[in-house]
């Protein structure tokens, strides 16, 4: 059995992939965007409520592979209660870790996604929700990983 595959598809990821948290519409969302990953046809909608510069609530919807669904699920958990700056800093940190292979020890639960580094073509799956979050906060409405 393939170690890299086991590393990629850890328990936590499969769990979040199959039972995503915060997977629902958010009626009072202050920010919202749609993201596409043409590679898998993944499509995700991220909605957040930002009050006084802080992410009060974050949800997502859509359909995607285990990696993108788990990543979105973990993201909504990770940014809750963080300031917008902190959330964006976490995205930078996360992206640097999976895209540029940089060391990081501030990722918390997001660390389970680091297995994706061995699968360059899947990195976009892992970052889609984050790109979409960024687009939502910057008021762009649409994000794409390409």
């Amino acid at each position: 059995m393939n170690d890299a595959l086991r590393e990629l598809y850890q328990e936590v990821i499969l769990d979040h992939g199959k039972k995503p948290r915060n997977f629902r519409p958010l009626e009072q969302a202050t920010h919202c965007a749609e993201g596409h990953n043409p590679l898998c046809g993944d499509c995700v909608t991220v909605q957040v409520i930002v009050e006084d510069g802080v992410v009060r609530e974050a949800t997502f919807q859509g359909s995607g592979c285990a990696i993108s669904t788990a990543s979105a699920s973990l993201m909504t958990e990770a940014i809750q209660g963080k300031s917008v700056e902190e959330a964006m800093a976490l995205f930078d940190e996360f992206r640097a870790a999976v895209v540029e292979n940089r060391e990081s020890d501030d990722l918390g639960k997001l660390e389970v996604l680091l297995g994706v580094k061995e699968f360059p073509v899947r990195v976009k799956c892992a970052t889609l929700a984050w790109h979409t979050l960024q687009a939502a906060i910057q008021g762009e409405g649409v994000a794409s990983t390409e």
């Binding site: 595959l5 046809g41 592979c65 285990a66």
Partner: protein, 414 residues
């Protein structure tokens, strides 16, 4: 060697696979199991050799050349046209227009025939299993002309509903667009029958033949189709080359598509007169090496025998469907009676893209996604499927490798 004999009864797979250099490699430490042939096939040595030979010996531009290399290039290029003509059994060389692929061939028809012949109130019928290449060009024309597009329904096994189609055929219908072999689910559509029905109400027929040429004998004359689009790279040829077959009288009446050198007779700033077929539709320097390489591929297929290839692939398809359907939670998508070597499926609760990643680590190359047939995916209520597609060189052992890898994917992802 049986590969080179003229009418082989069956295929000597070991010898045949030797002819395809790309098959001799490992991926992630496993022998490559290439089951993405509907996306593009591999190229046999003769195709690579023909390409190299052209560049090393005869490389020159075609047409208007008085020097020897140019004459050789022109001769080989026009012989390639004859080879394509013979392969699809067209009546005249002038009915074969080289394009960069199937997509361009369909766009050519939509932008010339479509824009001049379609009017407000006209209808275009397209099957629900069309590739985007035979949908979106017609949407653009429809927008421009006021024609409307109506989807022809398919049944749960992925077959065109012929009686529904029959009842949609009225005098308003001007074009029927049908994929000969579905790239997503492998259905072989009854093109002759569909065409005859369309002709009865005076509609023209555009057949997307991208997936058909590699799997079965195609005679555009027997099918009586009006337009037939092809891609070289789907039938063991190079990338960047394809062709449109069109009935001569239709092509003669069509306005030019792209414009430039070699498609004109005289140019002044006031007035330009256009050249005869096929040059009128082939402005600029064509993909000369591509056409020559494609002809080598078609000759190779001819030597193998398209019927033997078709039989081989159908045997594999039945075997693959049988083996896969034994896997718990696996749903075969597209189970038409008449199928070419394409098998699509989904696994309960597991995204095809994740399956694709596990398979790749096992050396098994398949495609996961919507396969450029979103309306078909919608019809089956799936965002995506896993698709394994076969070629003349595919072996039963490779199907076994696929099945084993799918089982591993279930274990890891289930």
């Amino acid at each position: 060697m049986s590969v080179a004999s003229t009418v082989p009864a069956s295929i000597d797979l070991a010898a045949l696979r030797e002819r395809f250099p790309a098959l001799r490699q490992q991926v992630h430490g496993r022998p490559l199991v290439y089951l993405d042939n509907a996306a593009t096939t591999q190229r046999p040595d003769v195709v690579i050799r023909a390409t190299v030979d052209f560049y090393e010996k005869d490389n020159a531009n075609v047409h208007r050349g008085v020097h020897t290399l140019s004459q050789r290039a022109t001769r080989d290029f026009e012989e390639a046209r004859q080879t394509v003509r013979a392969f699809v059994d067209a009546a005249h060389d002038a009915e074969i227009l080289f394009t960069k692929g199937c997509t361009e061939a369909i766009n050519l028809v939509a932008a010339t025939w479509g824009r001049t012949m379609l009017r407000e109130g006209d209808e275009i019928l397209l099957s629900t299993m069309e590739h985007h290449a035979n949908i979106v060009p017609w949407q653009l024309v429809a927008e421009m002309t006021g024609a409307t597009i109506r989807p022809i329904p398919i049944d749960d096994r992925g077959q065109i509903d012929l009686s529904a189609y029959g009842s949609m055929l009225t005098e308003r219908v001007k074009l029927v667009g049908i994929v000969h072999v579905s790239n997503s689910i492998g259905t072989i559509n009854p093109v002759a029958e569909i065409t005859a029905m369309a002709h009865r109400v005076g509609a023209r027929v555009m057949i997307d033949g991208a997936q058909a040429l590699a799997h079965q004998k195609v005679s555009v004359r027997d099918l009586d189709v009006d337009f037939y689009a092809m891609s070289g790279h789907k039938v063991y040829g190079p990338t960047g080359i394809g062709a449109l077959y069109g009935k001569r009288d239709l092509l003669e009446a069509m306005p030019p598509y792209q414009a430039g050198g070699d498609m004109i007779r005289t140019v002044t700033f006031e007035k330009t007169t256009f050249n005869d077929l096929p040059n009128r539709f082939e402005p600029g320097t064509p993909n000369i090496a591509g056409a020559i390489g494609w002809a080598a591929a078609l000759n190779f297929v001819d030597r193998m025998g398209i019927d033997a290839i078709g039989r081989h692939e159908q045997t594999l398809t039945r075997y693959a469907q049988h083996r896969l359907s034994e896997i718990d939670g696996l749903r075969l998508v597209g189970t038409a009676d008449d199928k070419a070597g394409i098998v699509a499926f989904s696994l309960e609760g597991i995204h095809p893209h994740d399956i694709g990643t596990v398979l790749d680590r096992n050396g098994v190359a398949i495609r996961a996604g919507h396969h450029c047939t979103m309306p078909l995916m919608q019809r089956f209520g799936l965002p995506a499927t896993v698709r394994a597609s076969f070629a003349m060189y595919t072996s039963e052992a490779e199907i076994d490798a696929l099945v084993a890898a799918v089982q591993q994917a279930k274990e890891i992802l289930g």
